[in-house]
């Protein structure tokens, strides 16, 4: 088992995770757990005992630690990555669906408002729509990051500046 420290890759650092490497995998795992869907190489990872990890730690604090074994690495490639992609597709579907409905809802509310005789018809609530899609997004995107967090024993660190 190897433990990786995952840092936010600074802009213009010139560092990238080697394609296909465990470091790249650790960074992707951190990205999934964070649920922020950042671009590749937004995070950069180093094995805990690697000198680069110490060097990087001097510059900034790690955001995550990720543990990877040969077995979990194989599981990531074989099963989890496709699942992550499908979960992202659900998020994208939520965005597409909510965009279309917001637009139609606003047009309906405007049509009611612009009419003289139908202003008493109930306007559709944007807040209710927000709540509906928020619920949907939370429910659909919760499972995969939680599972990934457990399998790779991910620890997240929040750093607050005083």
């Amino acid at each position: 088992m190897t433990k990786y420290m995952v840092f936010k890759n600074q802009p213009n650092s010139g560092q990238v995770n080697a394609p296909g490497s465990r470091e790249e995998m650790a960074s992707e795992i951190a990205n999934v757990v964070s649920q922020d869907r950042m671009l590749p190489n937004y995070y950069i990872a180093f094995p805990l005992e690697d000198a680069n990890a110490s060097m990087q730690s001097l510059r900034e604090l790690a955001r995550f630690t990720v543990e990877i074994t040969d077995e979990t690495a194989a599981l990531w490639t074989r099963e989890i990555q496709p699942m992550v992609q499908k979960a992202h597709n659900v998020d994208d579907a939520v965005s597409e669906a909510s965009g279309g409905i917001y637009q139609a809802m606003i047009e309906y509310n405007n049509a009611i408002q612009d009419s003289h005789k139908f202003v008493e018809l109930t306007q559709l609530s944007i807040k209710a729509l927000d709540r509906t899609f928020e619920f949907f997004e939370v429910e659909s995107s919760y499972e995969v990051p939680t599972m990934v967090e457990e399998i790779f024993s991910v620890e997240s660190f929040d750093h607050h500046h005083a």
Partner: protein
Amino acid sequence: MTKYLVVCRPSDQAAAHEDDTAEEAVCDIARTLMNLPLRADLLMAIPADTNLATMSLLKDDVMCSVDVTEKSIETWRNDVTSIQDAINAFQSAKDHAENVLDRALADLDDAYENSTDFQGYTPSNDISVYGALSDMGADDLEHAFHRALVDMYQFHVIRRERF
């Protein structure tokens, strides 16, 4: 306020109502509120205080009655169409949303189902696409608007009681 009775246009009454007349609007209102799958010009509107109206009632030809004023006809032409279009557009957006979400969730279900280590969890069991969208109260739009129109045009379906 003028009350009209609406009948199917008899074959010997070939000419449809002229455009932009009250009769033409009444036929359109009747067709819409009765949800008839036919063109409005296949209907005929008869002022209720005429002999033809009485005859039509006696022959049990009358489908419905509609009350209109100049103002309510103007409302029909200006507001109703745009609101109806907006409701239809909303319904389409909702249908599209349900399709898109349903498909994406089914794919995610498949990914779990086809995995060897994560079988047994079905994401769509926890998320109801249809429930989530109908909770917004959107299902009632069409019905509420229909009720408002029925009240505004004092729309009544005419059925003769048979003994």
